[in-house]
Structures are given as C-alpha cells and as structure tokens.
C-alpha cells in the first residue's frame, strides 16, 4: 500500500455504547496501539447515526468516517444495527456514486470483547485513509483551520 508521508488523517469513529465503545475501552486497558487521530464519538446504538452525522463529520474536517456497532444479532436493542446496516450500505453506495472515494467510509462490527479487533480495524482504516490523502471532495472550505 502506498504511504502518504507526513499526512495524518482525521478519523471520526462513531461507536455504539454497548459493544464497540467497550471494545475501544478494552483496547485501551490492554494497551493496544492505534493512532490518536481516531476521534471516537459515543452513540447509544449504531442506528442512532443519521446520514447527516457522517456528512457533517466530513464537513468538519474528517478524512475518514467509520461506524462501529454490535455484531448483527447482538444489538443491545435487538435490531438497531440491522437498520443501520441497510442505511449505511445505501449511503456509502450513494457517496461512491457521487464520486466520493468509497474507502473513506466504513462499517465494522466490534463486540465488547474485541479489543484486538478494534485496534486492528482502526490501524487498517487509518492506513487506508492515509493512502487516500486529504478529503477534498466532501470538504467545506470554511471549516479548514486557518
């Protein structure tokens, strides 16, 4: 994979309270390394994430946005992640259709026990987005730091 020397992407990770946020916690307590550029936003359930959240993260300077929730079947609210899965599939496909790099968005299911998976997922996502470089196609110039 190509590397983009010197570029440190900003990543926004929406994590569900019950599984993925706890997974991130576990990664922390196990001292697993993942880049500090990942900004975690805790949400009650992956289905709380409105498509606008994803877009606004890009507007506010994210170079990549990842949504993490409980594995299908394990949702704390039984079915929330099933709905999130459909929504994000369609949204990501639409972003791709508009010519926005599809690798900038991702969904991963991470349970509370999967600290290792959380760290590995973030490492992989950060390196993918680093290779893509800065988000240009879905940026809002007003929000660029000056």
């Amino acid at each position: 994979m190509q590397v983009n020397e010197g570029f440190k992407p900003t990543i926004v990770a929406f994590c569900c309270n019950w599984c993925s946020y706890a997974g991130a916690d576990l990664a922390g307590t196990n001292r697993l390394q993942y880049p500090a550029d990942v900004k975690i936003i805790r949400v009650p359930c992956s289905c709380r994430v409105n498509p606008l959240f994803i877009l606004r993260a890009f507007q506010r300077g994210a170079d990549g946005v990842i949504l993490c929730g409980c594995h299908p079947g394990d949702c704390h609210y039984t079915t929330g992640n099933y709905y999130a899965r459909r929504r994000m599939t369609l949204l990501f496909s639409m972003l791709d259709y508009l010519g926005i790099e599809r690798e900038r968005t991702r969904v991963e299911w991470v349970s509370a026990a999967e600290g290792v998976k959380f760290a590995a997922t973030m490492n992989d996502f950060v390196s993918t987005v680093t290779a893509l470089g800065e988000n240009k196609r879905l940026e809002d110039l007003r929000c660029k730091a000056n």
């Binding site: 506010r60 300077g61 007003r142 929000c143 730091a145 000056n146």
Partner: protein, 342 residues
C-alpha cells in the same frame, strides 16, 4: 454608433476581459444560458435569456459580510472584502438592465449597502438588444424597449456585425479601450432591426398586459381581495420565482460556525419560505396565502408606493417559465384587476 464584424467577436471578448473579468451568457451542461466568466473559445449563447438573472453579479446569492476568529479570549474581527475586480457584464437584456435601477433604489438608498455599491462601481453593463422575444416576455408593460436597451453600453447583433454605442461615462471608457477594433457605423441596420422587433412586440400574447391599475391608492382593496385564497392554494412555497427574479432583493443574515470562528454571511431569502422574517415571537405570516400575497403585494403595490410608481417587476418572464405550478405575476395581476378597480 460603432460596429465590428462578427468574425472579430473573440477579439472583442478578449479586449473586454483585459484588466478584469468578462461575463457573458454561455450554454451550460443542461443547455441553458448561464452567465459565465469568459475564457478563450467560449461563445455567446443563442438563448434569449439566462435562467438566473444578471443581478447575481451585484447581489450574489451568498456573500460573507464579516468573519470573527476566536483565539483564547480574544475575538478578531475580519472584513472579508478585498479590493473588487473590475468586470464587464456582456449580453444583458433590457429587462435585466432595468432591474439594476430597481435594485439601486433599495441598496443605494440611505443607508447605502457598501457591498452592493462596490460591485456596482466595478461593473460595466453591456446590454444586447432582443430580436426574438418569447411568449412570456412583457417588459414593454413597464416601458422597457427590448430593442433599445439601457446599460452603460448597448449592442445590436445583426447577421454580419455587432453594433455598439456608449450610454454612460463607463460605457465611453469601455469603448475607448476597444477603439482599435471598432469602426464608425451607419445606424440604419440598427434602426431597421428596432422596427422589426417592434412589430413582433406588438403581436406578443402579453402585449396588452398592464399593471397600471395597481399604481394608485389600492393597497387595502388589493390586500383584502378574496382571490388570494384560490391564487395561492397550489403554491408549493418554494423559492423558484424569487431566485430567478431579477428584482427580488430580500436577504437573510446568518452565522456559520466554522469550528474556529464565525462567518457572518447573507444569502437570498424568499418571502415564500415559512421562516421568512421569522423573529423571536415566531413568524408574522403563518399561512402560505399570506406569504404568497406578500410577494405580489410587494411587487405590485408596496414597491411602487414607495418608489415613485416604479413596479418591482421588469417583465422578464422568468417566473412564468419556471414556476413549478405555473402561477405567476401575470395571472395574479389579471385576477385582481377587477377587485382593485371597484
């Protein structure tokens, strides 16, 4: 009167673009005319008029007024205006040229809008006479002659030449810059074109349309007309008519939080919108009927009452062509005529 052979048009555009920008109607991806910054190779659209009016150049849809940057406990106030660039607006039709007079009455009256004024000062308006008016045209109802347009300079396109004449000092200055390209011309072809266009104008379906009955003391009669209910019932409450209109001038001022400061900008507003003039207590016009009425009362009654009888309409016909439900100022004025006469 000066003229230039059509083969010399690219040279004319290049000369006009010297020392600034030249904007002219060019066909866009949808095949509609749109004012576009001229670049080598661009050609003037053959369409009668642009979808968006020429007001954009003096009163853009969005414009930053001031920015604030926060650093710790200090707030820096930044004036985003830079020294404006001189520009030439070429191919403006007579209706849009008149709209600038109407906008001037709003923005150049005390207190002067310095953002608008600066753009007006930097812009030179070169108009182009119409030869093929469309069925939606009714500029003649407002005393506008599309065959003999206003502007800093006016042009006529014939089959083989472009005729141009200056009307203001700015126009004279522009013509002086173009002097090498232009030759003195006999105005006879222009006069012939004017006569030909006048004959077409007389046959337009809206040739007899007039707003004269709204000029007098008709405010309450018009306001209280029972017809507003049926006229407005299908209105979608969208802003199409407002945004394609060359004379609509309402705007909103909003703050955008950039994360490291605030950008205070203004943007076009539409009286058709449910949050138009919304204040702390709510909105003074709570129904679409009231909002719809506001737009037409403003153009037909309030504006002339405050501006020596000048209507807030130039008859460009854009709203007739573009309203999704085909409701427009002509239908409204015709429907209300009887009520204001009584």
């Amino acid at each position: 009167m000066k003229k230039l052979p059509l083969s010399q048009m690219p040279a004319l555009y290049a000369a006009m673009a010297q020392g600034g920008a030249l904007y002219l109607p060019v066909d866009n991806a949808a095949g509609d005319a749109q004012f576009t910054r001229w670049q080598e190779g661009m050609e003037l659209s053959r369409a009668l008029n642009t979808v968006r009016s020429a007001k954009d150049f003096f009163f853009p849809q969005t414009e930053n007024l001031v920015s604030f940057r926060m650093q710790g406990k200090t707030i820096e106030i930044i004036d985003p205006r830079t020294e404006g660039e001189d520009f030439v607006l070429f191919g403006v039709r007579a209706c849009d040229a008149r709209s600038f007079t109407i906008l001037d009455k709003v923005f150049l009256a005390d207190p002067v809008d310095s953002y608008y004024k600066s753009r007006r000062e930097h812009g030179t308006v070169v108009t182009l006479a119409c030869t093929r008016p469309e069925e939606t045209c009714f500029c003649q109802s407002f005393g506008i002659d599309p065959a003999d347009p206003e502007g800093d300079a006016a042009c006529w396109l014939t089959e083989d030449a472009l005729y141009i004449t200056a009307r203001t000092a700015k126009g004279e200055a522009l013509l002086a810059r173009l002097d090498g390209l232009l030759e003195d011309a006999d105005p006879a072809p222009v006069e012939a074109q004017k006569a030909q266009t006048a004959a077409i104008l007389a046959k337009l379906p809206l040739a007899q349309f007039t707003t004269r009955s709204f000029g007098g003391d008709v405010l309450m009669k018009a306001f209280d007309s029972p017809k507003w209910a049926s006229l407005s019932e299908a209105c979608l409450g969208c802003g199409t008519c407002t945004f394609v209109c060359p004379t609509c001038q309402c705007y909103d001022i909003r703050d955008f939080d950039t994360g490291h400061g605030i950008q205070r900008y203004r943007c076009w507003d539409s009286c058709m919108y449910s949050d138009f003039t919304k204040m702390a207590h709510g909105n003074p016009r709570t129904s679409q009927l009231e909002r719809f009425r506001q737009r037409f009362m403003h153009k037909l009654v309030y504006f002339p009452a405050n501006n020596d009888g000048e209507y807030g309409c130039v008859g460009c016909g854009r709203c007739l062509a573009k309203c999704p439900i085909s409701m427009n100022i002509v239908k409204v004025a015709k429907a209300l005529e009887g009520d204001v006469h009584e």
